[in-house]
């Protein structure tokens, strides 16, 4: 489950970044190559996400034929399934337009139109979980944004990493890499700060013992979310949360980016390497985020719902 | 289509019975008009929508036969309906009209079918040969076993055989087994009751005559107070909770639980007394002292119906509340509060079981409980009494039928010229022939080895024993070896004994534990569901258990095995008959045989025909009185609880009840010890205390020949005059034959965690010949045990398993609920020892008479059930020994689903002074993180 969330989120992020770079490429030529390569990366990552989903189904054959089976449009899984399904040909077309260099304008227009769909793929991984109303950690208000942001962040890292690798081991080394990496650095600072802010609000929300009443009238007692908060930040998952999400995923990249900027000159020869480490760090933080959220879901609040409360009609 | 609720206008269907079983107190008629739960629903499918029929009920197309039968696990005696198709047991239906359980079943009862269909059932006889298990035919197996037995008998005499019988055997098999031992010529036969309620039987039979539960599970519905001490009803007798909770809800009964742990049952108590294990007498005396101080005692009960009250009062002086509180660890205020609840809420019942019995002074414990009920005046009353919850499905029956080394059936004892004479008469054999079967008359009248310590008969030098030969052959016939304490010693005996035979539906720990290469036979027995017969539940209800299916695989009915064995040993002809002629119909003819001989306790009126008729008429019986209203059973009590003197007698649901005539089940206390005590005081009840409608309204002696008259005339005459055949006597606080404790005393456990109390509350002197083995008390009660072993070690039950667990650990469903052996350990103790929930730990206990301490490796279950100074182990596990998995010693394919270390490997030395009950509730140990 955490794999498809990660790759789903990543593919969304990658696409959005590819399109953004494509648009930047109108003005700054050095982004062209970066944008092109990123656009090639989206499809395999998306396919990987799809493969993981199918692999995790009890009946994969029924999942693959989802257009025939997915009927319940109240279910986020169906909406998500369709958005992934829709994304695949569009992403493929976009990549093809790049590959055959057919028409940049058509490509850019398509990119802009398709971006929200892919953004939604990231966003929806959070929505999917929030369908489980009785898992206090899976909050509808916080998770989708967190996952969207993390999707973009990991997308930046993923594309960046590939770019760095290509620059160093690829056939032709382009001279413009430092400019691209700097812009990516700015973006990373921005999204890391946003994610830190979101996480902080999310944890605040959990620890503040919110009373959660959902629309079906079930009452989830308050302490469920405090338990979840403690489980994540102080319990078994705490090392993953602090070292993984906060440390690897956010703090280290932030520090490395600052180092890059401040000691620009000194580290110039190593900048690719430092960036590489930074990107890998972000990616692992992203995986760990999914891991923590998914495993944190083991903690349900089963008996905070008093079974008979909603079972016996006392009308008649 | 619209689903409609269909109302059944008449007749009962299962579900209105279900409704009634939910609210028995709601009038049945009222409920049916309220549209009951006779709801027929049509099934609905996407393509298939079926119209609800006129009756609203579709019929299962299978061709099922319904067979009523009785659960084979615990002594509650629940009934259920087995559904069988082509001799295959396919499902279970609740028997809602069964008066005891009303359709309910706990996990073990609900898993009854799995006992039969489990893939792990032992399929054919096997023997261990050169370290390998080899399949045998029944004929070869029985031939080899019997010829070895004959050899052993020739070389060492009949006392070289020990038979461990079973409380799972029905009455007929139990009776046959005891008869078999007599015909073989030895008293070396015993069964689980020894390590279960022997101290209850000895204690209370010596108090008021009979050693059985006095009232019934159903009668608890009449109680205003339920005092539960040393019994965990929720796990051990789950269905009894139905009656207890009804009393709590409908009578506002006070539930008081006294237990060293906070048990599943404690959760339902109004008042909990958590106290130190092994201090029951002190706690009870504390309660009695509060009652006396406030004048709450029942003076007329004490004056008219008891003996030795002044002796009790003398002993009570040592138990002021501060002392009691110091000994028990229970706050004074709690004791006072509980005593007040009992005094203010009468009638109250007292429930006990293993927490009280399994101690070196277990007999004193049970006597002190009885004393409390006498003082409160709760005896002989609906809602009162001592509701002693017995263990196995037929442990009461097997005890009654004397599968014990100290008596023949019916508690006749072993008197060569009394007991053996009576039974020879019933069996239709010459008294002299019977005598000739034994080595000599002296040993014929001497109690044999017990389950608790039979293995010393193998291990000790024969000069130390109370018989002049060692034990060379052992039969485990429906018994586990992992239920005996000091199991590492048991293992040594199993290693050494010449011939070991295990007769069981499953491969048990007994067969695989010993380190040996030859001489072990395992014979597949049928389960209780594959053999018919009568079973006696805890409250003396005798119910007919129908055979559900034929014995599966090659397994055989226990009765068939024993008859085969008797034939091969050469006394089959004498064995298979009685004074009325040879057995023709089995098991019914055996029922008729014990009907004839079981005079003492009135197991005489429960004919096969009456039992089978009751089975059909369960719905006619009232839940609170257990009496049938109308129909062919009119006036009878469910289960014809003994004494049921004649074929017209309704049975005696409540013992010692004087408010009804003898003809309806009334009686006084038994006049068992003559009319005058050695001290000259009278033993006959006072004026006006006879059962109503009695021709003598005071105490009277027992009728002449009432125990041996096989015609039944004595009973009929007595009942006609309103007299109980056994007289009308007094209950005894003071028992002069118990030389050490004529009145019960608190005595510190042999392994006491309070060495400072040992001098004042010392245990007994050692005994040289106690059931043929020397037994240590004082010389093992050492003050410094506790230095090395600071923790109290106790043991008991889990709801899903029974006894040694050799059946249940082979049932996958049950193991799924309870997959692992564990030790309960308090969070404080765990933290102090850096142990976390789920960690492996070693539990180690003193060396006692061995050279080394014993140890087991188990997982820590951190829980607040136990106090911080104790460790609690469930004892149902086997297959692992001293941390070593024994899987490779099982025959291929027979490794049970559940394997774990046996608690009894570390249970300490300690045996009851009177009955040799093993002390498995209080010992010492220490823990080491593994």
């Amino acid at each position: 489950m955490l794999e498809e969330f990660f790759f789903g989120g990543l593919s969304g992020g990658l696409f959005v970044i590819a399109v953004a770079a494509d648009l930047l490429g109108i003005k700054f030529k050095q982004f062209e190559k970066f944008a092109r390569m990123t656009s090639y990366l989206v499809l395999p990552v998306l396919a990987l996400a799809g493969a993981f989903i199918a692999f995790h189904l009890g009946k994969p054959e029924r999942g693959i034929l989802f257009p025939f089976f997915f009927k319940n449009y109240d279910s986020w899984l169906v909406i998500g399934g369709w958005s992934v399904g829709l994304a695949v040909p569009l992403v493929a077309t976009y990549a093809a337009l790049w590959y055959y260099k057919i028409n940049a304008t058509i490509r850019r227009v398509l990119g802009v139109i398709v971006s929200p769909i892919l953004g939604f793929v990231s966003f929806y991984t959070g929505l999917l979980l929030s369908g489980a109303m009785f898992v206090p950690l899976w909050s509808q208000e916080y998770l989708p944004y967190l996952f969207l942001n993390s999707g973009v962040l990991t997308g930046l890292a993923g594309s960046g990493l590939m770019y760095v690798l290509y620059q160093n081991f690829g056939s032709s080394k382009s001279e413009e890499s430092s400019g691209v990496l700097r812009i990516i650095g700015y973006a990373i600072i921005f999204f890391v700060l946003v994610e830190l802010f979101e996480l902080q609000r999310f944890m605040d929300h959990l620890s503040s013992n919110p009373v959660k009443i959902d629309n079906s009238g079930y009452f989830v007692a308050p302490n469920g979310s405090v338990m979840a908060y403690e489980y994540v930040t102080q319990g078994v998952l705490a090392p993953w949360f602090w070292w993984g999400i906060i440390g690897l995923g956010l703090t280290i990249p932030l520090i490395l980016t600052f180092i890059e900027m401040i000691f620009n000159k000194v580290i110039q020869p190593y900048v690719d390497w430092i960036s590489g480490v930074k990107f890998a760090s972000i990616l692992s933080g992203g995986i760990i985020l999914r891991f923590v959220i998914v495993w944190g879901g083991e903690l349900k609040a089963p008996l905070t719902v008093i079974p008979q409360l909603n079972q016996i009609p006392f009308g008649g | 289509m619209k689903l409609t609720r269909v109302i059944h206008s008449g007749g009962q269907n299962l579900d209105s019975a279900f409704t009634d079983s939910l609210q028995p107190s709601v009038s049945r008629r009222g409920f049916i008009t309220a549209a009951g739960m006779g709801i027929g629903l049509a099934a609905m499918g996407p393509s298939l929508v079926r119209e609800a029929k006129a009756s609203g009920v579709a019929k299962d197309p299978r061709n099922l036969t319904q067979i009523k039968t009785i659960c084979g696990n615990c002594a509650v005696g629940c009934g259920f309906i087995a559904e069988v198709e082509n001799d295959t047991w396919v499902s279970i239906e609740p028997w809602f009209e069964h008066p005891i359980n009303q359709g309910s079943l706990c996990s073990k009862g609900a898993a009854a079918r799995e006992h039969v269909i489990s893939e792990k059932r032992l399929k054919y006889p096997m023997k261990l040969e050169g370290g390998k298990w080899k399949r045998l035919s029944w004929d070869t197996a029985m031939g080899e076993i019997s010829s070895k037995l004959k050899d052993i008998r020739k070389k060492h005499g009949p006392d070289a055989l020990m038979i461990l019988g079973s409380a799972h055997h029905n009455n007929e098999m139990s009776y046959a087994l005891r008869k078999f031992a007599a015909f073989w010529g030895s008293n070396n036969i015993d069964h689980q009751a020894r390590i279960c309620h022997s101290t209850t039987v000895a204690g209370i039979a010596n108090t008021w005559g009979y050693g059985a539960m006095t009232n019934s599970m159903n009668d608890i519905r009449n109680s205003k107070c339920v005092f539960i001490i040393g019994e965990n009803v929720c796990t051990s007798h789950p269905i009894a909770m139905q009656h207890i909770l009804t009393a709590k809800e409908e009578n506002k009964a006070q539930i008081i639980v006294a237990d060293p742990r906070f048990t599943q049952t404690s959760a339902f108590a109004n008042k909990n007394l958590q106290f130190r294990s092994g201090t029951d007498v002190a706690l009870i005396y504390g309660l009695v002292n509060v009652i006396l101080k406030n004048g709450w005692e029942d003076k007329s009960m004490i004056n008219d119906r008891t003996y030795g009250y002044s002796d009790l009062k003398e002993e009570l002086k040592r138990y002021d509340l501060e002392t009691v509180s110091d000994i028990t660890g229970c706050p004074v205020a709690d004791i006072e509060h509980a005593a007040r609840l009992m005094a203010e809420n009468r009638p109250g019942t007292l429930i006990w079981a293993m927490g009280g019995t399994q101690h070196a002074n277990g007999t004193s414990n049970t006597r002190s409980y009885a004393a409390l009920q006498l003082v409160l005046g709760n005896m002989g009353k609906p809602g009162g009494g001592c509701n002693i919850f017995r263990g196995h499905d037929n442990v009461q029956g097997a005890t009654d039928l004397g599968v014990l080394s100290n008596t023949l059936p019916g508690y006749y004892g072993l008197g060569v010229n009394s007991a053996y004479k009576h039974w020879s008469n019933v069996w239709g054999v010459e008294h002299d022939w019977m005598k000739s079967r034994f080595k000599n008359e002296k040993i014929m009248g001497k109690p044999g080895f017990t389950v608790a310590r039979w293995y010393e008969g193998v291990l000790m030098d024969s000069k130390e024993l109370g018989q002049d030969v060692n034990v060379h052959a052992a039969f485990y016939w429906g018994h586990s070896c992992n239920s005996q304490s000091q199991m590492d010693r048991v293992k040594k005996a199993l290693d050494k004994v010449e011939l070991l035979v295990d007769i069981d539906p499953f491969v048990t720990t007994t067969s695989i534990l010993p380190d040996r290469k030859d001489g072990v036979y395992i014979l597949p027995a049928a389960t209780v569901y594959e053999q018919a017969g009568s079973v006696t539940n805890s409250n003396r209800d005798i119910q007919w258990r129908n055979q559900v299916v034929k014995p599966v695989w090659e397994s055989r009915k226990d009765l068939d095995i024993i008859i085969d064995l008797a034939d091969r040993l050469g006394f089959g002809k004498e064995f298979k008959k009685n004074r009325k002629g040879p057995w023709k119909q089995l098991p019914e003819d055996i029922t008729r045989e014990w009907n004839l001989g079981m005079r003492t306790i009135g197991m005489t009126g429960q004919t096969v025909e009456r039992m089978k008729r009751q089975q059909e008429w369960g719905h006619a019986f009232d839940l609170k009185t257990k009496i049938a209203e109308g129909g062919p059973c009119d006036g009878e009590q469910w289960g014809l609880p003994w004494p049921c003197w004649t074929e017209k007698h309704p049975g005696s649901h409540i013992l010692y009840r004087t408010s009804i005539p003898v003809a309806k089940g009334g009686m006084g206390f038994r006049a068992r010890w003559g009319t005058k005590a050695p001290d000259g005081r009278t033993l006959l009840a006072g004026n006006g205390s006879a059962p109503v409608a009695s021709s003598i309204n005071e105490g009277y002696a027992e009728m002449k020949n009432w125990k041996t008259d096989l015609t039944g005339k004595v009973f009929e005459d007595a009942i006609a005059k309103g007299l109980a055949p056994y007289g009308n006597g007094r209950a005894r606080f003071h028992v002069w034959t118990f030389k050490d404790d004529p009145v019960p005393k608190h005595r510190e456990p042999i392994h006491s965690p309070r060495p400072d109390l040992i001098t004042d509350w010392v245990t007994y002197d050692d005994v040289k010949d106690h059931f043929r083995v020397p037994t240590l008390f004082k010389s093992l009660q050492k003050a410094d045990w506790v230095k090395k072993y600071p923790l109290i070690l106790s043991s008991g039950r889990q709801v899903e398993f029974e006894g040694g667990g050799n059946s249940e650990r082979n049932c996958q469903w049950l193991v799924e609920l309870q997959p692992e052996m564990y030790a309960e350990i308090h969070p404080r103790l765990a933290n102090d020892n850096r142990i976390r929930h789920g960690d492996w730990i070693w539990v180690e206990s003193p060396e006692d008479t061995d050279s080394e301490p014993s140890r087991i490796k188990v997982k820590a279950k951190v829980t607040r059930r136990v106090s911080p100074d104790m460790i609690y182990l469930p004892f149902h596990w086997g297959g692992v020994f001293n941390g070593k998995d024994l899987s490779d010693k099982y025959p291929e394919g027979y490794v049970p689903y559940g394997m774990g270390e046996s608690a009894n490997t570390v249970m300490n030395y300690g045996y009851d002074r009177i009955t040799q009950m093993q002390e498995t509730k209080t010992g010492l140990c220490r823990i080491i993180k593994a």
Partner: protein
């Protein structure tokens, strides 16, 4: 047979059509009575031949070993407004007219989404955790089989027995040791609850005070 004189009046208020109103099948778990005996769990296995690793009903204990220890048996509660139904992507879950929530094993894709949605952990998957393991979802059927022909071999094999079609009630409730688990038509079940509330004195049923403020 009756000794206590309480009768529940005929529900005449609902009029004759009340008798033909669709039944709504419900469970009631009396937490003041459940003794954690496991009878319901095993009875379910026995009745429905549920494979190892699948627990259609489980007993949960709260505050073990402490005052206030409480046990709750949790089968599928056959929720009205069931959250599992709303998340299932393929509509394999559905409400029968009598309120029973069924799963169609022929269409379930085994995504496990229902397990996360269900407040009671009722959906079960072979071999433990969902996502990552094969097989389709199994859960308590209210002993009503599944969306196949009643008593057919397919139904028996996929879903277990169909007691409801026979006019019998669920096995777990039928054998419950202490009658803690009550099943049946909602109104009848409510009668039992009322009766017990009356016997215990008001406010004694766990949660009753919150659910049914003084009436």
């Amino acid at each position: 047979m009756a000794t206590t004189n309480i009768t529940i009046p005929n529900r005449s208020a609902s009029g004759p059509e009340g008798k033909h109103a669709p039944a709504r099948m419900k469970f009631y778990v009396d937490t003041k009575r459940c003794i954690e005996c496991g009878g319901c769990e095993i009875a379910c296995k026995n009745e429905n031949n549920v494979p190892p690793g699948i627990a259609r009903i489980r007993v949960v204990t709260v505050n073990e070993g402490q005052p206030g220890e409480t046990n709750v048996a949790v089968p599928c509660m056959h929720c009205s407004n069931a959250p599992c139904i709303s998340v299932c992507p393929v509509d394999a879950l559905f409400n029968r007219a009598d309120g029973i929530v069924h799963v169609n094993k022929e269409t379930c894709i085994g995504c496990g989404y229902c397990l996360y949605a269900c407040p009671f952990g009722a959906p079960q998957f072979p071999q433990g955790s969902p996502f990552g393991k094969r097989g389709v979802m199994d859960k308590c059927t209210y002993c009503a089989g599944g969306p196949e022909e009643a008593f057919s071999a397919v139904e028996q094999q996929l879903y277990g027995s169909n007691r409801i079609a026979e006019g019998k009630l669920p096995m777990c409730a039928s054998v419950c040791s202490t009658k803690a688990l009550v099943a049946g038509d909602a109104e009848e079940v409510a009668n039992v609850v009322r009766y017990r509330a009356a016997a215990r004195g008001s406010g004694n049923i766990w949660g009753a005070g919150t659910a049914y403020p003084s009436n």
